[in-house]
Symmetry: C2
Subunit: 281 residues, 2 copies
């Protein structure tokens, strides 16, 4: 088995075990309409503007229901099993507390899907940056000649980075009008990972967590991406996630923290897990 | 009269006299959805993304016909007189040459309007910059918390910078969903300028140009904006544009040039103009 500790638990009093992570692909898309920026008084109104073209493309990435509009995007999404759905329903979600943790004052996303589905079990598209012309202080009266954006997709089983990536690339090229140069650059790809909840090693992990926290863990997922899928695939071994971080630990952000009680319990649980796995041998 | 030389002629062998300039307003629009950027794996799919919101707003600025979609935008646009339309039709336009000068491989703009209408006599909207998140080399897997864009509008008689600006501000605020902070900043405003072609001072200008170039000038406009409107309004005097630049002089750009034959002819025409105006006294 592969044991990874890069995940979190739902809450200190709601122990949980992550069973999967989303995959990730990222693309840079650049458009060029002219060799240099043009004077917006002399040319504006008659020449293509990459700010408008990019805005239309990014706006078209989602439909009015918040679904990703790239054709075929959802084709390979494996529906949740009844056990997975039941486990999701058991998790005590406080939307107001989650919004406060994120610092947002509204929720967004795919219509008809719960908060946990949106962040864990459904694929998403987020444009992480757009840069066209000049948008700093003051104003440059130009029609910009060039612009770019970076789109990321979080993937779930059984979506393939290559298949979704090819669909996105084809979609982008269809959106760009003739006479405009487009360049699409793929930046990395990670497949989604999912460990079957009925695997015997998973049973061992759940026992270890229950022994330390005093409660059977719920099954969760994590919406982020990592190399775990490749580890499990290359080693042909189930991946166990014994992570003890908490959702409000501010991963990779200023003021990241670690709750020490979770840390010590995690050490104990690791010992229990290796004992469990040894006994099974 | 006010005499200004900040304009151009259609071609060395097609002398022309500019009769008006477009006005200009510019607005910075910033959106904030959260205090800091969020991890796109942990939050992506459930929180608002300013890249998507700004893209939708910029995409919605124009309709499918290339018309500006801000309600009331065209209400105060004064139709061209028959004389103005006839003068526009006389100008020998070579679209391929114009595209080559601009360096573009397609034209864009308001459906059903000619190239000259689009750049001279019709109002336009160009977003001159968008900046959201990170779109440089590589990828940051964030849901950005903040983004901004700068929108400019070129105005024609009788559009008022204040009226159009207020309509744009109201429109922006309607586009932004609840729970998202928006800030709209106006950056300057210039009203459109138009000198009546039948004003006696304009007749003097046309005679001066005809005497030097050997042909009666056509009437043109310039799509850019300047302080001429305020000069004419405050001094209550007609503005005469005796400009001799050429459209491919690359105004305000690298490799700007001046064709010396036009320059010397311009000096002679200025002398003729003052003579004409003096004789009228």
């Amino acid at each position: 088995v592969v044991v990874v500790s890069d995940t979190d638990m739902w809450a200190p009093d709601v122990p949980s075990v992550c069973v999967g992570m989303r995959g990730l692909i990222a693309y840079g898309v650049s458009l060029r309409t002219a060799p240099v920026d043009l004077h917006s008084g002399l040319f504006g109104g008659a020449v293509p503007n990459p700010a408008h073209l990019i805005a239309r493309m990014v706006a078209a990435l989602h439909d009015a229901e918040g679904r990703v509009a790239v054709p075929g995007f959802y084709d390979d999404v494996r529906p949740l099993t009844e056990a997975e759905e039941a486990s999701l329903r058991e998790i005590p979600v406080d939307e107001a507390a989650w919004m406060a943790m994120a610092g947002v004052r509204r929720l967004d996303g795919e219509a008809g899907r719960s908060l946990l589905e949106r962040i864990w079990t459904r694929p998403t598209c987020d444009v992480v940056g757009i840069s066209v012309g000049y948008a700093g202080a003051g104003v440059k009266t130009i029609v910009p000649a060039h612009g770019r954006f970076t789109a990321t997709f979080r993937l779930v089983p059984d979506q393939s980075p290559d298949v979704v990536g090819a669909a996105f690339e084809a979609w982008v090229r269809e959106q760009v009008p003739g006479g405009v140069e487009v360049e699409v650059t793929r930046m990395g790809g990670v497949a989604p990972a999912l460990t079957p909840v009925d695997h015997p090693a998973m049973t061992a992990l759940c026992r270890a967590v229950e022994r330390v926290w005093g409660k059977a863990p719920l099954f969760t997922r994590i919406g982020g991406s990592g190399p775990e899928e490749a580890l499990g695939r290359i080693l042909a071994a189930p991946v166990l996630y014994l992570g003890v971080a908490l959702p409000d630990d501010r991963f990779h952000a200023p003021n990241e923290r670690m709750v020490m009680d979770q840390f010590w319990k995690g050490l104990l649980a690791a010992g229990e897990l290796f004992g469990e796995l040894g006994r099974r041998g």
